[in-house]
């Protein structure tokens, strides 16, 4: 019943490389968020992009949103081993936050 679908499901890269994760969603949502989850810090909010924005940056994170294609991408530049985690896109619909199934990122040192 999850709305978002992340692609790829799993990604393994070397430290220093960039990581790109994509998210597609089925129905209209109010804004889109990305979260990170690892065993050490649990689920943490990374960045929000509003429906009327096309691109947003925060540190090493870059998020794009294409509402016509109902898709978003998260780019992590100059990845570090500490970026190893699962990344989820999430959309707000009414009171609900709908999460995708996530991309599992593994950054090798």
């Amino acid at each position: 019943s999850q709305q978002g679908e992340e692609d790829p499901q799993a990604l393994s890269i070397q430290e220093g490389e960039n990581a790109t994760m994509n998210c597609s969603y089925k129905t209209s949502i109010n804004n889109l968020q990305w979260y990170r989850q690892n065993s050490g810090r649990g689920l943490v909010h990374l960045i929000l992009i509003r429906s009327n924005e096309r691109e947003k940056h925060s540190g090493r994170l870059r998020v794009t949103l294409d509402t016509s294609k109902k898709s978003s991408s998260l780019l992590i530049t100059a990845s570090r081993a500490a970026d190893t985690a699962s990344y989820f896109c999430a959309g707000l619909r009414g009171f609900k936050t709908i999460f995708g199934a996530g991309t599992r990122l593994f950054v090798k040192a």
């Binding site: 019943s1 999850q2 978002g4 109010n30 804004n31 968020q33 649990g42 689920l43 943490v44 909010h45 929000l48 989820f88 999430a90 707000l92 009414g94 009171f95 609900k96 936050t97 709908i98 999460f99 995708g100 199934a101 996530g102």
Partner: protein
């Protein structure tokens, strides 16, 4: 400052037992959410409270699931007659925002429920 806390962190229940999971949100946060996360999946919405009012319980999978937040702070998720398919991590989140303007949520560490 203190974040969202949940207790217990781990719970093993025999099938048919009732369980109660507790969430202590960040002080002053108006909104509180419960999610269920199966292994390898994203969190799935269960229910939403704005203060003490349960405004959305559409994600509760059956009438065996019940949540309350009687004084608008601490919340309890109760599962009656647990089944094996209830095994999951139950996450609680809070937010200082209300209703449909909620953006960032602050998550607790979760309670891992295993039903044997």
């Amino acid at each position: 400052g203190a974040g969202v806390s949940q207790s217990p962190r781990y719970k093993v229940a025999k099938r048919g037992q009732d369980v109660a999971l507790r969430c202590d949100p960040i002080s002053g946060h108006v909104s509180l959410f419960w999610y269920q996360q199966a292994l390898g999946q994203g969190p799935e919405f269960l229910t939403y409270f704005q203060n003490e009012a349960q405004l959305d319980k559409s994600g509760l999978p059956s009438d065996r699931f019940f949540a309350e937040r009687p004084e608008g702070s601490v919340s309890t998720l109760k599962i009656q007659r647990t089944q094996q398919e209830d095994s999951a991590v139950y996450l609680c989140a809070s937010s200082p925002f209300e209703g449909t303007t909620i953006y960032e949520q602050y998550f607790g560490p979760g309670t891992r429920l295993t039903v044997t």
